[in-house]
């Protein structure tokens, strides 16, 4: 999204931030989506690994996601930013094959995807690392690494888990990603949060992922641990993977992202190339930015100008 059409978009969005959310955010969507489409052709020659065009998802009467367009390209990091309830999880679930979109199209390698399960997406090289369900704490690192895709030896009833190869491979893979783990026999529960995420990323890379979807990999981590994880994300990117990095922290997203999709209340606030947006703009655009201004405003006076009882 480096083309000219996007340049005014951040300002536009910025201009509307003081206004209360709701109808305005909604009205900005078609414009944003249109802008995204206009620039798509110019952004690169390769077909994006993943692309959503105005994807939407409804659960019963709740519109979880509407008209979200985004792209994931090889060797790039696409950051998806948004506050709780912004639709990040719904978007991940569409991308990783848990739910099909109700409207719009989801393209993988330029062709419409028809995933019926996460397994289908995985078979196409789309691996998802969830924040909470990445690893099984009581199992060793090597058992976790190969869980669901264990290498086998022998045939028929004597088919068995090739333990020696599994351990060897895990040591090699972790080492090549620069992940420093003392003992692959130790239970994953004894690893730190950052180490766990790193092992999960190494696992996805090893199993031939072309696209890595990372669900808030840094949100539960301290500053140092988050830095470790960001470094592995960069490693994966440098290996030519397309990375979808979901986060609510613009300070984690900005240094590593190549493009930024901002979500608010299930709708896209625009997809920006790195050249089109500054860290400050990203921070203030992030859900909460507008509210924070409003909040600061409210807190500084005795009588807030707008509805004083408005819940944030």
């Amino acid at each position: 999204m480096s083309a000219t059409g996007d340049a005014p978009a951040p300002r536009e969005a910025g201009a509307e931030t003081p206004a209360p959310k709701g109808a305005d955010a909604e009205s900005s969507v078609p414009a944003e989506a249109g802008g995204t489409h206009g620039t798509r052709g110019g952004a690169g020659f390769a077909v994006p690994l993943l692309e959503t065009r105005e994807c939407g998802k409804t659960f019963g009467g709740v519109i979880a996601l509407r008209e979200v367009s985004m792209q994931v390209r090889a060797g790039e990091v696409t950051c998806v930013l948004g506050d709780n309830g912004a639709g990040k999880s719904t978007l991940i679930k569409i991308l990783s094959g848990v739910h099909p979109p109700d409207s719009g199209v989801y393209l993988v390698d330029g062709a419409p995807a028809a995933f019926t399960s996460p397994r289908d997406a995985l078979d196409r090289g789309i691996a998802t690392v969830y924040q909470d369900l990445a690893m099984i704490p009581l199992m060793s690192v090597w058992r976790n690494f190969f869980l669901g895709s264990e290498p086998s030896l022998g045939r028929g009833p004597l088919r068995r888990f090739d333990v020696a190869r599994a351990k060897r491979t895990v040591r090699r893979e972790l080492h090549s990603m620069g992940i420093d783990i003392r003992d692959v026999d130790q239970p994953v529960g004894t690893l730190s949060g950052g180490e766990r995420q790193s092992v999960a990323i190494a696992r996805a890379v090893h199993f031939g992922a072309r696209v890595l979807i990372l669900d808030e990999p840094t949100s539960a981590l301290g500053v140092k641990q988050a830095g470790v994880v960001l470094r592995y994300i960069a490693q994966a990117r440098d290996r030519g993977l397309g990375v979808v990095f979901i986060t609510h922290n613009p300070h984690h997203a900005y240094p590593i992202g190549d493009r930024f999709l901002l979500l608010n209340r299930g709708a896209s606030m625009g997809e920006y190339g790195k050249a089109d947006i500054t860290r400050q703009e990203l921070t203030s655009l992030m859900a909460g930015g507008a509210e924070l201004e409003q909040l600061a405003h409210e807190l500084s006076r005795d009588e807030p100008p707008g509805g004083p009882k408005r819940t944030l």
Binding site: P137, L138, S149, F161, H175, P187
Partner: protein
């Protein structure tokens, strides 16, 4: 790179031993053996060993199957009564309907597999706790066992298996004896050892073994990486049912008759043996060897109390005390194993 990290040098053998789930059971077995062997000449003689290995064997077969199921994160309270059901089916069919022992066993196996499948199916479909689901099957089977036996015989037991066709071969295979050093041992001991070895191999060295640990450890995480969690769980319930069938057949062939309430109350003994063997009640951790050693402790206590001339009622007290001690020991071991090392 195949060389372990140099920082591992300090951890050593002691830690590796301590984080084994079987450790508590091994220590317990040594203590119990020393206790009884120290006071009873018979207990430590070779005939005594053959004597206390006998109850340990049938209990051990069940404890191993239950251990696998518990590592997979589920319980089966119907397993004890199912040993009675399969025995009853076998004896009734071969004594009253003229089937050979082998055919009757085959029918009993099919019924057992069906019960296991239903248990598993209901658990994975409804997501109800297996404790409740199998408590339901447990009560239903108990009712059927009594109802059918009474309706057919007018009493609460069926007998006369000795006269059925194929009894001698079946007995030799499942309930016979083999000689070792001039002492007769029950052939069930060999089944027990074989099943323990097989279960250990499956757990530690096969893909389904990895899946069992995974579905018990964190089912959602396991599913997310493509582990067939439902199939694994159903297979575990069916494995338990097959073990119950095997034990039911062994006991029926040995005694040639089956009480309608056979196996009742045993379900908790299996679970206790598995817990003493290091299985966590929450799943995801444990061992087949540990469960076998847990069964061994029970075998020793069961007979040891008799050898010492004590009232057999004390066995229950012993059962409870062992369970408490084992659970406490397991908790410590687990905490030590999981302790973050940096």
């Amino acid at each position: 790179m195949t060389v372990a990290d140099e920082r591992l040098a300090g951890t050593g053998l002691a830690r590796r031993l301590l984080i084994r789930p079987e450790l508590g059971a091994v220590v317990g077995a040594i203590v119990v053996f020393a206790f009884f062997a120290g006071q009873s000449e018979t207990f430590r003689s070779i005939d005594g060993v053959a004597n206390w290995l006998d109850p340990a064997s049938t209990l051990g077969i069940m404890a191993v199957a239950i251990a696998l199921l518990m590592i997979g994160g589920e319980f089966d309270l119907s397993a004890g009564v199912l040993t009675g059901s399969t025995g009853l089916i076998m004896v009734i069919l071969s004594t009253r309907y003229g089937l050979s022992v082998w055919t009757a066993m085959l029918v009993a196996l099919v019924v057992a597999l069906l019960v296991g499948f239903l248990n598993g199916m209901i658990v994975v479909r409804t997501k109800l706790p297996s404790f409740i689901v199998t408590l339901g099957t447990f009560l239903m089977l108990q009712g059927v066992n009594l109802g059918v036996t009474k309706a057919l015989t007018g009493t609460v037991q069926v007998s006369g298996l000795r006269r059925a066709e194929g009894y001698d071969q079946a007995r030799a295979l499942l309930a016979g004896t083999f000689s070792l050093g001039g002492t007769d041992f029950r052939v069930a001991i060999l089944w027990w050892l074989g099943i323990t070895a097989l279960a250990t191999w499956v757990l530690m060295r096969t893909r389904p073994g990895n899946w069992i640990f995974a579905v018990g450890g964190d089912e959602r995480a396991a599913r997310a990486v493509g582990v067939p969690a439902d199939r694994t769980k159903i297979a575990l319930f069916m494995t338990t049912a097959v073990a119950a069938w095997l034990v039911g057949s062994i006991l029926a062939l040995r005694f040639t008759s089956v009480q309608a309430n056979a196996g009742l109350g045993q379900e908790f003994v299996y679970i206790i043996a598995a817990v003493i063997g290091g299985c966590l009640l929450t799943g995801g951790y444990g061992s087949a060897v540990g469960a076998s050693i847990g069964a061994l402790i029970f075998g020793m206590a069961d007979k040891g109390i008799v050898f010492l001339g004590w009232d057999a009622d004390w066995f229950k007290f012993f059962l409870g005390a062992m369970l408490l001690l084992a659970t406490l020991a397991n908790r410590l071991v687990r905490r030590y194993a999981e302790e973050v090392r940096h």
